[in-house]
């Protein structure tokens, strides 16, 4: 089955990239843009799945981490392009800026993870939501990043290869982490925190790991997003964006990597396909969420018995 075996994941991912790279030549700009969006959303959804699905925490602030990563890496590459590095160094600088954004986002993830020692369920959800909003308000007033008018002039570095490589890396890392001996701890914390603690699994450590790794990849996704759209606006990182990612995870089936990837693809393409309906497309999109939740609550692509879902 595709549910386990991290190595198989890597193989699938490499195959996808190889096909994608070969295909990127004959895709027009619009399809290319949408496919990069898909890759970014896969990174976001799979990394959130580690926190919400596998570890059973409930984070509503995922795009806050994305904002941190996006702004940090964009400001770094803007500074680098002003400093005038030779073009040969640009991919390296871009990679470094992405990782730097990811690391800062991971630090933010640790800060958000700390309340999860004491708070559970809805209280944790609202605190993560609050953190996301605080980060957004911070960038809205942060003058060096353009404050409310947004950060302009970001170099266009995100290519097909970059976006899909990071999508593959994210899927690989999360899948192999969860399927490793160490990673069983995430599932233990998800299923029963108290029992896990009694068995010598330290829930605090696992929650912090989940939050920091999830946030790291969200930060990378933010960096990719920034260099794809070449413009960042704080309003793009509002609470609705986090909700979108949560919807991907839940429709994909909590804790099911394969389903979440499919859901990320579907929910990115759906609004594009509905573009033909112009004014009605977001209405249709929201109706579809309601209908899907009523008809397939276990996730769109889950066909085996349900795993215990916990809020």
């Amino acid at each position: 089955m595709l549910q386990s075996g991290a190595k198989r994941w890597l193989l699938v991912a490499l195959l996808v990239i190889a096909v994608a790279q070969a295909a990127s030549g004959w895709l027009n700009r619009y399809y290319l843009g949408v496919s990069i969006d898909i890759a970014i959303n896969i990174v976001l959804a799979v990394s959130l799945n580690l926190i919400n699905g596998h570890t059973g925490q409930f984070s509503l602030g995922h795009c806050g981490f994305m904002a941190v990563g996006g702004y940090v890496s964009a400001m770094l590459t803007i500074a680098a392009s002003r400093a005038g590095f030779p073009p040969a160094l640009i991919p390296g600088i871009f990679a470094l800026s992405l990782v730097a954004g990811g690391i800062l986002a991971a630090l933010a993830g640790v800060a958000v993870g700390i309340p999860s020692f004491r708070l559970r369920g809805d209280y944790l959800a609202i605190v993560t939501l609050g953190f996301g909003e605080i980060i957004r308000v911070f960038f809205q007033t942060f003058e060096p990043a353009g404050a409310a008018s947004g950060l302009k002039g970001i170099p266009n570095h995100t290519t097909f290869l970059w976006a899909w490589s990071f999508a593959a890396i994210t899927v690989y890392v999360v899948a192999s982490l969860v399927n490793s001996t160490y990673g069983r701890g995430f599932l233990a914390v998800h299923d029963d925190e108290i029992a896990a603690g009694a068995m010598g699994v330290n829930p605090i450590r696992y929650k912090l790991t989940a939050f920091s790794i999830g946030a790291f990849f969200a930060g990378i996704a933010g960096g990719l997003y920034a260099h794809h759209k070449v413009f960042l606006s704080p309003t793009g990182f509002d609470f609705m964006r986090s909700i979108e990612i949560v919807v991907m995870v839940i429709l994909g089936g909590m804790g099911r990597t394969f389903g979440v990837v499919l859901a990320a693809i579907l929910l990115t393409i759906l609004p594009e396909v509905l573009r033909g309906f112009a004014d009605y497309r977001m209405i249709l999109y929201s109706l579809l969420i309601i209908v899907l939740m009523i008809s397939r609550p276990q996730g769109l692509f889950t066909f085996v018995g349900p795993r215990k879902a916990k809020a």
Partner: protein, 303 residues
Amino acid sequence: MSEFLQQLLNGLSLGAIYALIALGYTMVYGVLRFINFAHGDVFMLGAFAGYFLAPSVARVFPPGSIAGALVVLITVMAICAGIGASIEYLAYRPLRRRPRLTVLITAIGVSLFIEFTCQHRLVFGASPRTFPELLANKTLHLGGLTVNTNQLVVITLTALLLGGLSFVVQRTKVGTAMRAVAFNEQAAALMGVNINRIISFTFALGSALAGAGGILFAMTYTKIEPLMGVQTGLKAFVAAVLGGIGNLPGAALGGLVLGVVETLAGGVQGLSNYRDGIAFAALILILLFRPAGLLGRAQIEKV
């Protein structure tokens, strides 16, 4: 000092509106244990219902009269009660026995549906509208304080509604049933409580309060638009959590605390830009020290 009192008063009138909306969140949480994300949109629909009702009411009652304002308020509350109960019937009832997360996402879907439908040009359109003046707004000077009659109306009306709510919940049969369902749904059903009817009633009651909040908000800030419920609803939800979700006095207290903290922080030089963030920062700080909210009781998990 008078500056401080002035801000306190402004904060209380904002907090009163938060409190009205927060009560709906907390009541629904009490009986169904999920966050009704569409609640903020019911608040918005209340404001718009008032906007469309006010001109026709003004034809019967003299404009700016108390009777006219009351007629608008009561009609809007009734309309919102109907909307809230129908949302529950259509979207949440089919999911009654499902995991809470499923219901939560459905609630988000309902919220998006209302927002996008209302933004459509055939419905309300996306551009803001100016709410008509229901009551003549006078400015009074009391000592060093500047008081809008609107602020007084908001605070008085909220106090009255809170009193009414507490009477319904504590003293009436249906209120007793509500508390019973919140305490233990199965046991309540065994005692002959019609669970579905009580849940509908809870939604109607909470939505009526949100509708009243919508009118009061529109009277105070005069601009209404289809997305007005998003930020206000979020803040009200924060207020409900702040006070301890599921706890009615807690929601009222949380609303007032949030309104006052936000307004006071907005008055401080250099902090005013961070106004929206401060509400959440206060929430996180309070929850770190009181994880179950101000008035919530910490639940000990039994193994």
